[in-house]
């Protein structure tokens, strides 16, 4: 079982290295998503299944979709009028695909061999987590919600087109 952790860690480090050294923004995002999936598998192996699910749903789901939206708005990817053939050739996606399939093999192995959690003495499940989150950490939960509200208002305020930009001939 320990080998699974080291393989997932190696996948995470390799993918992060490719994120830092890649020049194509979309390919770097693809590697970062595989790196986050590897981190989620590590969380699962360390007895934190709820954190692993949140890592996939929020990090690899929501935040990375935000990045993809912005990259598409900034036109950093390939131009749309180019031929679609180069995107379908495996040169762009074989690296993330191989690393992600390594993670898939690990997950299948864990679920087939362990019959549940591979985990430590007692995996901390969502029930224990919720009891603690709404008990001693209720103030922190409220502060996190206020922070998310501030992020929402700030992002709306910053991304709103302004009168001065339109007068200067900027983007409407």
């Amino acid at each position: 079982m320990n080998t699974l952790f080291y393989i997932a860690g190696a996948v995470a480090v390799l993918c992060t290295l490719r994120v830092v050294t890649h020049t194509n923004a979309v390919h770097a995002l693809l590697y970062l998503i595989v790196s986050l999936l590897a981190a989620a598998l590590i969380f699962f192996l360390l007895g934190a299944p709820f954190a692993a699910a949140l890592e996939i749903i929020i990090y690899a789901g929501a935040i990375m979709v935000l990045f993809v939206f912005v990259i598409m708005m900034l036109n950093l990817g390939t131009p749309t009028d180019r031929d679609q053939k180069p995107c379908l050739r495996p040169a762009g996606w074989w690296g993330p695909a191989i690393l992600a399939s390594v993670l898939l093999v690990e997950v299948v192995y864990v679920l087939a061999a362990g019959g549940g959690f591979p985990a430590v003495n007692a995996p901390v499940g969502p029930h224990t987590l919720g009891r603690a989150l709404f008990g001693p950490y209720a103030l922190g939960l409220e502060l996190a919600s206020v922070l998310l509200m501030a992020g929402l208002v700030g992002a709306y305020h910053l991304a709103r087109p302004r009168g001065a930009d339109r007068a200067e001939g900027g983007a409407p």
Binding site: Y6, I42, Y59, L66, V124, A144
Partner: protein
């Protein structure tokens, strides 16, 4: 039964953190700088999960939840700032944003 020493998890988190730090310091593209910040935040979350694994307590996962919400708020504001800044510096090169309103 997994019996990985906590030291190894911390070493992995440290490696990920320094990769993100190297990305922030070496890249000049604003998008890649933000990606490096995300990598570093994720490594910090891994440290908290490792602490929860070491002591078998839920507190590490709760701190990870806080880091997750903080990362979501930070990335939304950061991407909105990149979208605004792009009109002023005509591109995504961080070196061209060296002066504010000077």
């Amino acid at each position: 039964m997994i019996t990985v020493p906590t030291t190894h998890v911390l070493m992995l988190a440290g490696a990920l953190f320094f990769l993100g730090l190297a990305g922030v310091m070496a890249r000049r593209n604003l998008i890649f700088i933000l990606l490096g910040v995300e990598i570093m935040l994720n490594a910090a979350g891994l440290v908290f999960i490792a602490a929860g694994y070491h002591w078998g307590r839920p507190d590490g996962q709760i701190m990870f939840l806080f880091i997750l919400s903080m990362a979501a708020a930070e990335v939304s504001v950061g991407l909105a700032m990149i979208l605004r800044l792009r009109h002023h510096i005509h591109g995504l090169d961080a070196d061209r944003a060296g002066s504010l309103r000077g």
